[in-house]
C-alpha cells in the first residue's frame, strides 16, 4: 500500500500544476471535505552529499506547500506535500491522494495519473534526445613534436 501511495503522491507532486488542474477538472469530481491542515507554504532543507556519495551537507532550501484533508463521505484522509507555492496544486493532490484509497482509484489512475506519467516520461525522453544530440567525440590530435 505505502509503495503504491508513495508512487502516486510523488507523481502528483512533480506534475505541472496547470496540467494536473486540467485533468482533475475533466474528471468532474468535486467531493466534499474538511481541512485537517489547510494549505500552508513552507520550506524543506535540501541535502547533498560530499563528492556525490559521501557525508551529507545542507545545500539550501526549496519552497513546499502541504495540506491534509478528510473526505466527508467515508472519512478517508488525503495528504499532499508539493514543490512550490501553489495551494490549489496541494489541494488537488491531497484530494486525489484520498480518493486513490477509495473505489474511485481505478478511474483516477486512468484519467489523471496515467496521463501525467506519460507526459512526464515524454518530457524526460525529449530532453534526453536533445542532450544526446549534443553528445560529442573529441579526437586527440597528434602533437607537433615527436
Amino acid at each position: 500500500m505505502s509503495e503504491a501511495r508513495k508512487t502516486w503522491m510523488s507523481l502528483l507532486a512533480k506534475a505541472p500544476p496547470k496540467a494536473l488542474g486540467q485533468l482533475w477538472d475533466d474528471t468532474g469530481l468535486a467531493p466534499d471535505f474538511t481541512w485537517l491542515r489547510a494549505p500552508e507554504i513552507g520550506s524543506t532543507m535540501v541535502q547533498g552529499r560530499m563528492g556525490g556519495t559521501g557525508a551529507p551537507f545542507n545545500l539550501g532550501e526549496m519552497t513546499v506547500t502541504r495540506c491534509a484533508l478528510r473526505l466527508t463521505d467515508g472519512g478517508t484522509v488525503g495528504h499532499a506535500y508539493v514543490q512550490g507555492r501553489d495551494k490549489t496544486h496541494a489541494r488537488i493532490a491531497a484530494l486525489i491522494d484520498a480518493l486513490m484509497q477509495t473505489a474511485l482509484a481505478d478511474r483516477l489512475q486512468a484519467e489523471v495519473l496515467d496521463p501525467l506519467a506519460t507526459a512526464m516520461d515524454e518530457r524526460r525522453r525529449t530532453r534526453a534526445a536533445k542532450a544526446a544530440a549534443t553528445k560529442v567525440d573529441f579526437f586527440t590530435m597528434v602533437r607537433g613534436e615527436d
Binding site: S2, R5, K6, M9, S10, A13, K14, E40, I41, G42, S43, T44, M45, V46, Q47, G48, R49, M50, G51, G52, T53, G54, A55, P56, F57, N58, L59, G60, E61, M62, T63, V64, R66, A68, H79, Y81, V82, Q83, G84, R85, D121, E122, R124, R125, T126, R127, A128, A129, K130, A131, A132, A133, T134, K135, V136, D137, F138, T140
Partner: protein, 367 residues
C-alpha cells in the same frame, strides 16, 4: 555608537515613488512580466536561487523584477522571504548519480562512459553579439531542430570519480549519515567542518568565489585541479513525511555538480593519489560550482596534511566570513547611512589634535 534619527518620511515616500517609476522605465516599452524573467533570464534566476539559498524560480524572477535587475538586491529579498517560511523538514540527501543530465562533461577522460554531453552551453559560441536577437520578432529559438525522442528513458550516468575510486587512485569519500550542521540555524563557529563549509560556499557570492578559485590556479595554494566531471540536470527531492511514515518525492530541482580531481603527492600515511574538491549549486550555475569545488579543495589542506601556504583560499575564517554577499553588502552599505553623531565626535577629536599641535608649536617657538 548608534543614535536613532527621526523625520524624512515624506522624502522617503517620494524616493520610493521615484524608485517604482524608474523600475518601470519608459512606459511606451511593454512591461516585463515575472514569467518572462523566469523563462528568458534563467541564469540570473538560477544565481538568485543559489545565493538566496531558496529554490523557487518564480520568486527569484519576482525578486529580480523588484530589484531592477540588481542581483544582490534580489538575493537579499529572497533571503528575507526565506526567513518567514516554516521548515517542514529535511530532504533525503540527493542522489546526484541519478541525475537526469542535460550536460555532463569530463576534462580528464575523453571516452568517459556515458559520453561527453555538451548541453546548452556558451562554451563553443564565438562571443560575438548576435544582432538578430535585437531585431523585432526574431527569437532564435525556431532554429532549434526538432529531435526524435528515444524509446526509453535515459539510463543512470555513472560518476567519473567512481572509476578512479575503483582502482584506489582517488581518496575515498567516507560514507556517513550523520546530520550535518545548518548555517541557517546555528551561527558560524570556527574551526568548522567541511559540511558547513560546503553549505556556506553554496550560498556564497559567485564573484568572490570566482576570484578566490582563480587565485588557487595562479599559485596561491596551488592544487592542480582538473574538472573530473561537471554535470547539470534534474534530480528528484525526496522527504520523509512523519505522519505517513514513508518518503515521497516533493518535486524536482535543477542542480550543477562539479567534482575536481587534484594532484596529491601523498603523505606519511597516504600513498600518492588524487584528492577531491566538490561543488554543488542550485540551478544551471556552472562557474559557481567549479569555483566552489576549487575553494573547497583549497580549504581541505589541514585534513589532507598539506602545508598552510598562507594563501587566502586556505584561510577558512577569511573565506567563510567574506563569502556571503548579503552580510558583505549590509556592512559595506551601512556606512552611507546617517553617522552624524559618530562623525561629529571624530571631527571634534581631529580639531582637538590640531589645536594641541598648534599650541605645542607656539610654546616651542616662544622658548
Amino acid at each position: 555608537m548608534y543614535v536613532a534619527v527621526k523625520g524624512g518620511e515624506r522624502a522617503i515616500d517620494a524616493a520610493h515613488d521615484w524608485l517604482a517609476e524608474q523600475r518601470r522605465g519608459d512606459t511606451t516599452v511593454p512591461e516585463l512580466d515575472v514569467a518572462q524573467i523566469r523563462e528568458q533570464m534563467t541564469l540570473a534566476v538560477n544565481r538568485v536561487m543559489a545565493e538566496g539559498s531558496l529554490y523557487d524560480p518564480d520568486l527569484a524572477a519576482l525578486a529580480i523584477k523588484q530589484a531592477r535587475g540588481d542581483l544582490i538586491e534580489a538575493i537579499f529579498l529572497i533571503r528575507a522571504y526565506r526567513t518567514t517560511l516554516p521548515r517542514f523538514g529535511t530532504s533525503r540527501p540527493l542522489d546526484t548519480g541519478a541525475m537526469d543530465c542535460m550536460r555532463r562533461i569530463s576534462a580528464t577522460f575523453k571516452d568517459a562512459p556515458g559520453g561527453q554531453v555538451l548541453g546548452p552551453t556558451f562554451d563553443y559560441t564565438h562571443r560575438l553579439l548576435d544582432f538578430k536577437l535585437a531585431a523585432d520578432g526574431e527569437d532564435g529559438a525556431s532554429a532549434s531542430a526538432a529531435v526524435e525522442p528515444p524509446e526509453t528513458a535515459p539510463a543512470r550516468v555513472p560518476h567519473i570519480t567512481g572509476f578512479l575510486g575503483r582502482d584506489g587512485l582517488i581518496e575515498q569519500e567516507p560514507a556517513s549519515d550523520e546530520a550535518p550542521p545548518d548555517l541557517t540555524r546555528t551561527p558560524l563557529e570556527l574551526p568548522t567542518t567541511r559540511a558547513l563549509r560546503l553549505q556556506a560556499l553554496a550560498r556564497g557570492d559567485e564573484g568572490f568565489l570566482l576570484g578566490l578559485a582563480y587565485s588557487t590556479q595562479r599559485g596561491y595554494a596551488r592544487n592542480h585541479a582538473f574538472v573530473g566531471e561537471l554535470r547539470i540536470g534534474t534530480v528528484p527531492v525526496e522527504m520523509e513525511i512523519p505522519e505517513l511514515g514513508f518518503t515521497v518525492e516533493l518535486g524536482e530541482i535543477t542542480l550543477t555538480e562539479c567534482e575536481t580531481v587534484n594532484q596529491f603527492t601523498g603523505s606519511k600515511t597516504e600513498p600518492a593519489q588524487f584528492t577531491r574538491g566538490y561543488g554543488l549549486s542550485f540551478g544551471q550555475t556552472e562557474r559557481k560550482a567549479i569555483a566552489v569545488a576549487l575553494v573547497d579543495r583549497a580549504l581541505r589542506w589541514r585534513e589532507l596534511g598539506e602545508d598552510d601556504q598562507g594563501a587566502p583560499a586556505q584561510d577558512e575564517e577569511f573565506v567563510l566570513s567574506h563569502a556571503d554577499n548579503i552580510q558583505a553588502t549590509g556592512f559595506l552599505e551601512h556606512i552611507k547611512l546617517p553617522h552624524y553623531v559618530d562623525f561629529q565626535s571624530e571631527l571634534e577629536l581631529v580639531r582637538k589634535l590640531r589645536r594641541q599641535a598648534t599650541q605645542a608649536t607656539e610654546t616651542e617657538a616662544a622658548q
